[in-house]
Structures are given as C-alpha cells and as structure tokens.
C-alpha cells in the first residue's frame, strides 16, 4: 500500500441516495450526523452531499436545508437508476479527485451494494451497518459509559485522536464492536437507517454546487434493469414482521380484533394472538404466538390483554422490545416487559394509534 498523506483528505461526505427523484430519509439523517462529526473535527470541516442521478439538481436545496455545505452533483442519463457499475465508477472517480476524509452511506439495499465496491476500488476500509459514530475520544467515552459495558479506563479523554470510531453490532446483536480505519483514507461506513438524527431543516439555506462531469459510457454498465417494481406491502407473516400487535382473552370478544387490526395497520405491523383468543374462535390459528404457535422476534411486540403464560412467553420473549398493556399489574407479562402499561387496552390502544404519527414531533419537543 502506498503511503498516504492524510492532510490531503478533508471533509465529511455523505452519499445522498435518491430513488425516483426523491431523497431517502437516511440521507437526511446522515447529513445531520455529518454536521455533528464535522463540528468535532475542525472549524473548517465541511459536510458535502454526493448527489448522483439524472436531472436531480433540484434535490440540492433539500440537502442544504438539512445541513450540507456543498453538493457534488454527478448527473448523466446513464445514472438515472442505480447500478453497481455506474455508481461505483463515478463515485470512486470523485473520491479520488476530491479526497474526502470521511464518507458515509445509508445501510440500505443500495448502500450495502455500492459501498463495499467503492471501498475495494479505493483500497480503503469499510465498516458495516453502524449505529453510532464518534471522532473525539471524549465523545466516545461518554457514549460508551452511557450505553455499554465497556471499561473506558484505558481511554484518554484528552487524546488528540480524531479518527472515526464506528460502532456496530455483530454476532446477531450479541456483540458490539468499534472499528477504526487508521492507515487509509477515506474512512468509510454504512449507517443503519433510522438511527441518526436529522437536523431541523433551515428553509432557504444555500451552498455551493460543484458539478462533476462523470466519465461514463453505456458499455461500463454490465447489467440491464428491466423493471423496478414497488410491491404494495404484502401481508407479512408473523416471523418476518417488525412489529407485532398481539391480543389475548383480555379483548373480551372477537370484535376486539378490529381494533387490533387498526392498531397493526397504523404501526405497520401484523396481528398476533394468544392461544386463549384462538381457542375462543376470535381469530385464526395462523396468528397464534407461542409454544404451539409461531415463535417470533420482532423489534416491538405489543402484548395486549395477555397474561404471559409460560407457553406464550416461549414464543415471544426474545423480541427486542416488549410493551405490555394489562389491567393487572401483577400479571407475569409485566415481569418481562420493557414497558409495562397498567390499564384498559380499549382506552390505551386508541391513544397510541392517535399519537403514533406525532412520535417524532413529541420527541423533538422534549429535546428543545
């Protein structure tokens, strides 16, 4: 490996993924995170959006509003849709020309296809699917002490080290690792969507647009995209669901599942049930969670009017987050719940439905 002059590498780049002329949410989140990192590196560190596509210049405004100082605009009809070959080529060329210090991508199905190829072509490191980033050691210590079991004694809060510390889960979430890229540049990471904070947009913000003329010809692209199909969200099965809204005997009767369906529709989840609800004939067995039903591991499991019998727990206790809604504070489900809500499900669930879309705004209000 040739020795690298680190001083030539400056600024934080964000690949602002667009699909069909719309920016992905994660792109805006990364601009926000980029700002935070840039501030910690040096006063003159810029956040730069790398915008690739065909006729996408209008998206620059949004990039500026969400924190970009400049936009590298790479446009060509051949770049209209994402292809590994096309995007890898033009992005690698731009990185070689302008030499970013840090380069972030959303860990989407596109980001995780593109970034490894770019990293291999640039002969630099790439950290996958990060959930936390730091540049200063002091910032890293603070994060580690608040959120992890790491013993931080060996870390010096006054260290001048400004290398990117990229934290990610591995081993199915059983282990966390912080990865560094000490000898090569740029330092690259894909970052999990939904984790970083967007900035409050500044209407009318402007910045510099750097037009990069891509060197790309049709023969560079070895695949042909025949069609891009958006599937109307299929009814996902319990095992694939991210959120499960389950109910049990506490519903009282079959019509209660109408509320549960409304709940699931709102949160983008799937309806589950205890065996008591299934045996009562209120809902089909394919919805049953538990030892003699389906074993599930969603991000959120809402257990509503379910007591938490051991056979039910066997099917859902490794869910990432369990929210229990039950009249009885002493029911066993409350013991394993991350969030226990003592109350009548018929009163609580409609309020969760009503407030669901406001969650972001409610949270933002608490951080002001």
């Amino acid at each position: 490996m040739a020795t690298i002059n680190f001083d030539e590498y400056k600024n934080v780049w964000v690949f602002v993924e667009q699909r069909d002329g719309k920016l992905m949410n994660v792109a805006l989140e990364l601009l926000g995170e980029g700002r935070r990192l840039a501030k910690d590196i040096a006063e003159d560190t810029k956040v730069c959006a790398v915008l690739v596509g065909d006729k996408v210049e209008h998206l620059a405004k949004e990039c500026f509003a969400y924190g970009a100082d400049s936009v590298y605009l790479i446009e060509d009809p051949l770049l209209k849709n994402y292809t590994t070959d096309g995007y890898t080529k033009v992005i690698t060329d731009a990185a070689n020309q302008f030499k970013p210090d840090i380069f972030l991508y959303g860990a989407t199905h596109i980001g995780r296809d593109l970034a490894p190829r770019v990293a291999a072509r640039l002969n630099t490191g790439l950290t996958a699917d990060c959930t936390h980033l730091d540049v200063s050691v002091a910032g890293y210590i603070k994060y580690a002490e608040e959120n992890t079991t790491l013993n931080t004694k060996s870390l010096d809060p006054n260290s001048p080290d400004k290398g990117l510390k990229m934290t990610r889960p591995a081993f199915g979430g059983n282990l966390m690792a912080t990865i560094v890229c000490p000898r090569t540049r740029p330092q690259m990471a894909t970052v999990r969507p939904g984790v970083m904070q967007k900035m409050e947009p500044i209407e009318g913000a402007t910045g510099e647009i750097v037009k990069v003329t891509p060197e790309i010809k049709a023969s560079d692209i070895k695949v042909e995209i025949l069609d891009i199909v958006k599937s109307a969200k299929e009814l996902v099965s319990l095992t694939d669901a991210n959120i499960i809204c389950s109910a049990g005997r506490g519903l009282g009767d079959a019509s209660g599942f109408e509320l549960m369906q409304k709940f699931a529709d709102k949160v983008g989840g799937v309806v589950g049930a205890s065996r008591a609800a299934v045996d009562a004939g209120w809902i089909g067995h394919d919805h049953q969670v538990g030892q003699t039903g389906t074993t599930v591991k969603p991000t959120i499991y809402f257990a509503c009017g379910i007591s938490g019998a051991i056979q039910h727990l066997a099917g859902m206790q490794s869910s990432d987050c369990i929210v229990a809604i039950n009249k009885d504070p002493d029911s066993p489900i409350m013991e394993i719940a991350d969030y226990a809500i003592v109350g009548d499900l018929y009163k609580v669930i409609p309020e969760i439905i009503a407030e669901w879309d406001n969650a972001e705004a409610l949270y933002d209000a608490t951080t002001k």
Binding site: T84, H109, I110, R112, D113, P116, R117, A119, A120, N123, G125, L126, A128, N147, T149, L150, P169, A170, F171, G172, N174, L175, M176, A177, T178, I179, V180, V195, K222, V223, E224, I225, L226, D227, I228, K230, S231, K233, D320, C321, I322, V323, M334, I336, A337, D338, Y339, A340, I341, G343, D344, V348, P350, E351, I352, E355, A359, E360, L362, T366
Partner: protein, 265 residues
C-alpha cells in the same frame, strides 16, 4: 463444456446459541455449534438446482477458515457439491473484509475458470455483507446482491434475477460470468443425501497461502485497513419500566417519546 460454478461458504457459530456471560460481559462460545452460514446454504442450493437441470454442471465450494471448517465443507459435498477447497493459513487470520476478499479471490483464481459465483449476502457472525461485492470487484465481475429469484436461459449465458429492495424488487438482466449473492427468500436448501455422504470420490482439498500464491502483503490482520478499536457487549436488559401518566393519552405519549429516544421506532 461443463458449466462451472463456485460457491463461497463460511463456517460460522450458530449465533442463536451464543449467550453472554453476565459477569465478564464476554461471549460464551463453548459448546456453540458451528454451522454452514445460512445465506451460503441458499447460495449452494441455487447452484445445485442448476446441476439438477444440467447434470454436467461442476460445483466447487470455496472457503477460508480454520481446519475445522472441513466439517462444514463435508456437509456441502453431502448436499451435492462436486468438490471443496479450504484455504487455511495463519497468515490470513484476522483479515477484515478487504483482506478476506483478497485471499478468497486468490483461491478462486487458483481453482481456475468459472462461469458463475454464488456467495451468501451476509455471514451471521461478522454480519458485514461486504465480502461478496469485494470479491466481485477484485475479479472485475458484475454483481447482483440480495438475489431472491434466479433464472438462467438455455444458452447458459443470460441470467434474469429479482433483486430485493426494501419496498419491492428490481428485475435485472446480467450475463455470465458474474457474482450473485443469495438471501433466504431465494430457495429452501436441501438436506444432505446418503449418496452424497458416501461419495468418497469427491474430496476436500486444504490449501495454504503459498499454494494459492497469495501476496502476503494484502492479507491478514496487519494488512487490513480496518481494525477493531474496542469490543463489548450491549448493556444487559434491566427490568422494564412502568409507564405512568394521568390519562391514557399521557401514557401513550410517554411511551412513544421513549421508543423514539431509544431509536426503537
């Protein structure tokens, strides 16, 4: 001429069985079974489906790992692969994905010509999903990742795949030679067969870095551009919290704010 397929397969610990020692905060790996990485079983299955239809297809499974990985390769042979190559050498230990793909690329070049490479999308231990694309880059092959449907024309050249997206799929045409990475939606892997288990003619070749003519300056821990700075376990799950509030509305709001704060929603 026979159609030649290479399948990249990694032996991994069954991460569902891994527990954390609450006292030391380290992973308990003792007694955790080693398995063929899930997505790699799908990769092999798709290759075997081609062989079912075109019996003169030749499938070579390639792996990098410790000598124990032969057990996993034996399983691949018992499923129906024709041969397996294990690259095993201390010099490649500690490789990150950049260095791993250098080593596997060298092993593939040693194996010789091929028409198609299947890898898994992601290994369940390292979890990066980077090795497939990085091998493709080093072999200058076009790639499609997240393949959920595969079809090859009778000319054994034109391939049509469905590539999964978060909200749908892309239909992509690609030609051999190329690299495809498999996800679980692609197929249902078959079991080992008795015939496969007792087929002694098939063998597992173990090679070292010198056999594969690997440039030692681009593999192993020292050559890897990324390093592990620190590793740790997440904070153990404490007892949950009771969400309080004067009205149901307050309770709902408090819950949602906390879910948002912890990035759960």
């Amino acid at each position: 001429m026979a159609f030649k397929i290479i399948v990249c397969a990694k032996q991994v610990p069954d991460t569902n069985e891994i527990k954390i020692n609450p006292e030391t905060g380290t992973l308990i790996r003792d007694g955790v079974p080693s398995i063929l990485n899930n997505d790699d079983a799908n990769a092999l299955e798709e290759a075997l489906k081609i062989k079912d239809k075109h019996p003169d297809t030749h499938i070579t499974v390639v792996s990098m790992g410790p000598p124990q990985a032969q057990e996993m390769l034996f399983e691949c042979i018992a499923m129906g692969a024709d041969e397996a190559v294990l690259l095993s050498d201390r010099a490649v230990g500690g490789s990150d994905t950049w260095a791993t793909s250098n080593a596997i690329t060298a092993a593939i070049k040693k194996i010789g010509d091929f028409d198609l490479i299947f890898a898994g999308r992601q290994a369940i231990d390292g979890d990066t999903a980077q090795v497939g694309p990085q091998i493709a880059e080093k072999l200058e092959l076009p790639q499609v990742t997240y393949v959920e449907e595969f079809e090859i024309a009778d000319n054994m050249k034109d391939i049509t795949v469905k590539r999964q997206l978060e909200d749908g799929y892309e239909l992509i045409k690609i030609q051999t030679p190329c690299m495809l990475t498999a996800i679980k939606e692609l197929n249902e892997p078959r079991y080992m067969s008795m015939k496969g288990i007792f087929n002694k003619e098939k063998d597992i070749k173990v090679i070292n870095a010198a056999d594969a003519e690997i440039d030692l300056t681009i593999v192993g821990l020292k050559a890897s551009p990324t390093n592990v700075y620190r590793s740790f376990t997440p904070k153990p799950k404490g007892k949950g919290i009771t969400v309080e509030g004067d009205t149901e509305k307050d309770v709902a709001k408090t819950l949602l704010i906390d879910l948002k704060k912890k990035h759960i929603i």
